[in-house]
Structures are given as C-alpha cells and as structure tokens.
Symmetry: C2
Subunit: 496 residues, 2 copies
Amino acid sequence: MIEEISKENIDKKVQMAAEAYQFLKNTTVKERAAFMNTVADQIEILGEELLQTAHAETSLPFTRLTGEKARTVGQWRSYAKAVAKGVYTEPRIDLAQPDKQKGDLRKYNVGTGPVVVFGASNFPFAFSTAGGDTASAIGAGCPVIVKAHPAHPKTSQLMADAIIAAVKESGWPEGIFSHITGTSYDIGAYLVQHKEIRAVAFTGSFTGGKALFDMANHREVPIPVFAEMGSINPIFALPNLLENRAEAFAKEYLSSLTLGVGQFCTNPGVCIALKGESLDRFIIALKDEIHEIVPAKMLHKGIYESFEKHKTIASGQPEVDIIATADTEIDEWQGRAMVIKTNAKNFMKNPVLNEEVFGPFGIIVTCETSDEMMEIAQQLKGQLTITIAATDEDARNNLTMVNLLKDKCGRLLFNGMPTGVEVVYAIQHGGPFPSTTDSRFTSVGPDAVKRFIRPISFQNWPDEFLPEELKNENPLHISRIVDGEVNSGSLKLQTT
Amino acid sequence: MIEEISKENIDKKVQMAAEAYQFLKNTTVKERAAFMNTVADQIEILGEELLQTAHAETSLPFTRLTGEKARTVGQWRSYAKAVAKGVYTEPRIDLAQPDKQKGDLRKYNVGTGPVVVFGASNFPFAFSTAGGDTASAIGAGCPVIVKAHPAHPKTSQLMADAIIAAVKESGWPEGIFSHITGTSYDIGAYLVQHKEIRAVAFTGSFTGGKALFDMANHREVPIPVFAEMGSINPIFALPNLLENRAEAFAKEYLSSLTLGVGQFCTNPGVCIALKGESLDRFIIALKDEIHEIVPAKMLHKGIYESFEKHKTIASGQPEVDIIATADTEIDEWQGRAMVIKTNAKNFMKNPVLNEEVFGPFGIIVTCETSDEMMEIAQQLKGQLTITIAATDEDARNNLTMVNLLKDKCGRLLFNGMPTGVEVVYAIQHGGPFPSTTDSRFTSVGPDAVKRFIRPISFQNWPDEFLPEELKNENPLHISRIVDGEVNSGSLKLQTT
C-alpha cells in the first residue's frame, strides 16, 4: 500500500522547501556541483537491492536497469560539471563608465524556487525520483519536491533515501529534497497550485501534462510547467534510401519500434513513404522480421491494458490494414508488436491515427506523390523527434520538406532510429506542442538546468554583498561576459 | 484617423510572415546582424520630421526624443553585435565517439517563428514599432508583425518605413516585417490567436498583458507572451542612510518620481522607511522640493485622465495623508506630482495602495519596527526593480531582508534611483509576476533576444545540410561548446 500524504504534511514539506531555497540560492555553483556528485556517489553504492526492487516493480530486465542506473549517475555528474563551470549562471558584468548614467550592473541566474517533479513510470531511475528533472532543478539552485510515481514506490524510496543521505552528508537543510507518496490526483493538483511552488516538471500523458499546464496558468501567480507528453516520432523514408536498403531498414525500424517493448517516448510510431516496389519490399521484410521479436512484459498492468486497447482501436479504423503482427504465445502483460498500414489521405483526416499508442505499434503511411508527403509534413503536430531516412541525394531532392520539418520537432535525425537519447549538451529532448508544453527547453542533457533559472541584476552593489559569481575577484574562476567580452579573469578595478 | 485593418488583410500579413520565417530561419547570425545594422542606419537618417512628429504626438520634449532615438539606434546595433557573435545561437556539438550509441549530435537555437509586437505609448521609439522587441525578435530570426500603438500613429509609420526600407535594401522577403494599424481590441486578440503566430511581446497595463497571456495559453497550441505590465518599484530606505542624508535623498527621490512626468515603468512609486526623526526630515524636504518641480504635459489625454483619477482614488483611501503636492498652475494634460503617506499596516491591507499609479505619484510607507518592514518585504508582489537605500552598515544589518527581496524583483539597486534602464548585457528588465508575465526573460539589453529562440538538435547530418553555425569548418568563427569545452576553431575530423 502506498501511503497517502495529508495536505498538512504537504504544506509542511513545501514550507521547508521555501526555507531551503533561501539557503540554496546563496550556494555557489561549485557547492551545488559538489552536492550533486555526492548524490551520484550515493546512487552508485546502491547495489543488488535497487536492481532487484526495480525489476520486481517494472519488469525491466537487469541489463537495462544496470545501464539506466549508470546513465542516472552520469546525469548527476555531467550536470554537476556544467553547473560548476557556470554555464547556466551566465554572469554578465557591465562596469561603471563615464558615458553611462547608471554605474555598475551585474547579472546572473538564480534558481527560480521550489520545483515539483512528477516521475515517469518508464524510466524508474533516469526520469523518476532521482532522475534528470531532480538533478537539473537542484543544479539550478531549486529545492525539489518529488511526487513519486505509484508504479514503482519502493524503487522511488530507495532513490529518495540516497538523495536524503547526500543532504545529510552535506549538512544542507532537509527541505532541499522531499519525497511525497500517494496515488490521489489531488496531491499533484494541490502541489502545483501551492503558492510557494515556482515550477513543475512532468513526464507522462498529454492529458496529465496539459491538466497541470492549465492549472499552473490559472494560478494567481502563473508558473512554468515543463511537461513531456508523448510523440509519434515520424520517420520520412525517402525513395532512394528505400530502394537501396528496404530490407535492412525494415529490420532497424522494427528493432527500434519494439525496443523496451516500445515503451520509449521516442518510439518511431509512424513511417511515411511513397507507394511503390521499394515500399512493398519494406513491408514484406516487416512481415518476416516481426516473428523474430521476443515478447516481453510491459511496465505494469495498466500500461499493458492501455496498449491492447489503443492498438485495437487504431488497427480497427477504416482504411487500415494490419500488415505484421507478432504471433508468439504471450505471458502475463506481454505487449505483442503490430504494424498497420494506411494511406496518406486517411492518416491526415483521422486524428486517432495521429495519437501515440504507447507500446510496440507502428503505422506505415503510404503516399501517392511527394506532394502528399509534403502535405503530411505541413499538417504534422509537434514531435520530440523526426527522422529523415534518406540518401544524400534524397535529402537534396527534398530540402523544402526537410526545412519545414525543423519546425515540427526538437531533434531531427538523418537516418538511424530515434530511440536512444544521449545525455550530452547537444541533445534536445523537447519538441513543439503537444509533444511538450515548452519547446524552448530540454529535459535531457545539462541544458535541462535552464528550465529552472531566472536572471537577477544588481546595480551598484559593493563587492562584499555580491554573490561569488559576480565578485571582482572572480573567486570561482568562471567565464563571464564583462563589458561585452568573454572574460575568465578577475577584475582589476581602481579603488574608489 | 487610424485605418482599421481587415481580418483578411491580417491573414495575408501573417501568411507572409510565416513564409518569410522559412527564409529567415536559414539566415546566418552574421546576415541578421548586417540587416539589423541596416535598420539602425535607416533610423539614424530620419531627421527633423521624426522628432517633430513624435513631439506633436507625445508631448515629449525634443531633448528626450533625441536621446531616445539614439538609444533606439544603439539597441539595434548592440543587439546586432551580440547576435553576430552567436551568443544566442549557443551551438553545441557532441562528436561521434566509440562509447556513444548515437553518433554525431549538434544543437543550436533558431527563431521560434512569427512574433507579434505591441508597442508601448511611453517610449515612442525605444519600446514601440522599431523598439527593442522588434530588434530582438528579428535578431533571433523571427519575422515581426507590429500592432502600432494608436497614441503615436505617424511616428510609428515613420519607423515602420525605415524598417521596410532596410528589408528592401537587403533584398529580404517583405513578410519579415509588417505594420498593422487600428484601435480595435479585436485586432490584437485576432493576431495573438492566429495559428501561425509563435510569440507575443507587449508593454502596457496589467489588464492588457494578462488578457493576452490568458488568450495565448488557451490556444490549441499555446505560445509564450512576454508582457511587461507595471510595477511600483519600492525603495526600502534604511535608517543610517536616512539619518546621514534625508534631505539629499528626498531631492533624488522626487527627481526620479517626476522624471518624464512619472511616465516610466521603473518609476519609484513607493518608499518604505522606519518612523522617526530622520523620516520626518525626509518628508519635510519632500514638501519643500516638490515646489521646484516644473510641470509638463503627459503623453496623451487618456493617460492624464487616468493619472488624475487614480491619484484621487489612492490619496482618498483611509489612513492616508497627502504630504506634498505640486501647486503650480497647470496647462492642458499636465500631471501634477503628489506624495502621500500611510502606515505599514494600512499599506499591507489595502490593495489599492499596492497598484501602480502611472504618473508622478509616490507613497511613503512608515513602519513602526524593522519587523514590520520585513513583513512588507515578505508580502510584496513581483516588481521590475527594488531599491535598497542604505549605507554598508544598513545592508549588513538587513541581510535577511535583502536576500528575500531578491525573489521579488528583476533588478536590485543599492542606492541610486530605478529610473534609467541601461541597454547592456547585465540589465534585467523583467521581474516576477505581476510586473511581467515571465521573470525568466528581459525586454531590455541584448539578452532580450533569448525570448524568441528554441533549440533544435541535428543527429548524424552530413556537413552539407547543416546550418553554417554548426558546420565542421565553423565558417562564422563563433564560439561553440564542442564535447563539453568552449571552442572557437574549426573541427578537424577524420573523413569517413
């Protein structure tokens, strides 16, 4: 049984977070980075118990969980490194000059205040309690209140304990991190509307994310909601590529579509191609290859049932053919892969086919002409990723479409498959609405820290009162823009 | 008479902007910077006609208009300089490595798409048609549609013509910039809800800004609204400072309060101090000094009438004393300065006294104790600026309050007055709600460009298809983060 927290206890935790914020906003980037590395250490020492618990709660295989744990530790460490460098502090100093009326101005970014994080079910480590949202919020200087995902409560608790141990080890106020359990919708709603909360991070369904977004905008003081809400991640398979490698491409597509039983937000749910012999070869290969897919248990019963339901709805739409379906015997909650086919006109007019089916389910959309493919590109909603499966020649022949598709996604791939999200600076995990509520930010990579900062400008303050990041001496040795030029040194000012 | 534009013509202009965006997003930072300098040139050559027209429409004196014109030209040039350096493009490159699954990832920021700018009445050049919003949106790579402020239509048209001339001179598509006139509320509402519009910039009233914000959030695809909506810009006058220089401080305060007939968004509408002999000296000085204030005509009849109305309402509140009022004979629309006094408890409980009175109107709030001053700090709403009038010792004695006040403003001053907003990197012109809709951004300084960008990540694209900003050669010679380190050179890659 998951314990339901009372409103009084929520208030208490939020109040503690608000008080911890007054402490946290005055820590330096180096201090926050050191803390983040301590959290990484604490997660690293979680051993067999963590993996066993997570496996029992999510059915994810041990190899995957081992990799996800390493990724999670890596997130804390790589975000810490970027924070320590002052990448997100962006110090700007404009010194007093005779031709300026106002004297000395210095600006840097501070954390926005307490953040509520809603963990996701499909990444029990990397996108949950101690996941990237929590790491980036703390890196920014914001206390975090995690609303634990009810699908893996014990895993969450182990991760929360690791963070709490790091808080104790650092001698930081308890309110830096709180862990709230409960299954009621009201808990999340109450948190998002609490006046001391300054931002929200969420990974989950469109319905859930949009409800939080609306709630946050209707507050007396609106706050940002960074919700990642799902995506069909289309692949545009262009003619030369298909002609050259229809069979190999089918194998890669199916492998990506069924990876992790299709439970990735970057799962390539739609593949759009021109009608013809090459596409026929691709489809025949899909039919063959789907028998090679080994079935696996989905995350939980709810996800399995939802997958079966939406798969049936989508495949039962008019002008839809089932072209490949896994025929393996299945055990409890095992999602059986399916690929369907429809024509471009039907795809464009039927909204059901444009909705994500969470699981190993793909739609092949056949176009009569390249104009029709362009029409699909034009009316496509916002996506986390779009893939152009193409030869160089294909790309050259379709530059207008490629250019247009940049407006519809956060990450544009040239071949390869969209599953697999690298935790690096150059990743963008966040696309135009409705894939996320705010395409200006990423939830993966160190840049995720940007979601939780705001600038404050200090005018004419004596050095003793300035944060370390802005002091003349530059004691943290970070890169700053001084009078318009990048400068990593200390400022030699005439004493007044 | 101002021409009212038809919906059909709005649609046409928005469509042109959407098409121009496809062009603009592929321009390089250097090309956009060159364009911005061309606009600056075009504004610079506007001579006597511009000043005469603006003076006739706004009553602002020639010296002020001459200075504001120079500032406006300076905005285009300094934003261009920052854009050219790639400060807002933030290129990040993570090269393919054996231990990474996904190969080459490259990210940079592109303009979000067509932006609607609502000009302000109080800065006919710097915050209007060719003001900072337009300059920063174009710098980001976004076409702009200006809804001209009806208070200075001819001035707006002259500025629009300058931008249009620059568009022609550059051979850029006409849709880069459109100028829409009309007085109807419906025009703005229609624009903000138009599906091709991607962001909105506004400077004006809370009612206006909040209405746009709500409209934008209720769209099928919500978009950001950057509305600057007003502020009372409190000054906390601490005891030592007042004791040392009550009279000089009174002179400075009154001068800032009445600068430009109080028609600045950073006008210091409230001054909070401890009861006592020093404060009495300050008030006596105010009474004396107010007679020195030369009356001047306000921007237009509507603003004058609103000032008189709100001044009367505020000064007529319970437990309020009028302590200083300008007694000069006044001509048409001349705003007569007034300073009132009330006690802290009354100020905290009466919301009327916490609202901006646009014009030369100040409230002195007297506190019984420093705890009471802290209470005011705690319940203060978001502000563009907060000023701590203090000696070093005062600041040391009030560190907790100073620290708390950081959460309530975008710019925190140590002495001096908040009027006068420097156009530099280190300025923050944007504070917590309700002073603006989004405290994470500034509407003044090159960083204003940040409002109109979003990242896009390219995975495994051949060099020929990448934007110049991300090509191996680094042909624009901009600073990039390559594999986590700042790098301004070109990439020497092994050919594959």
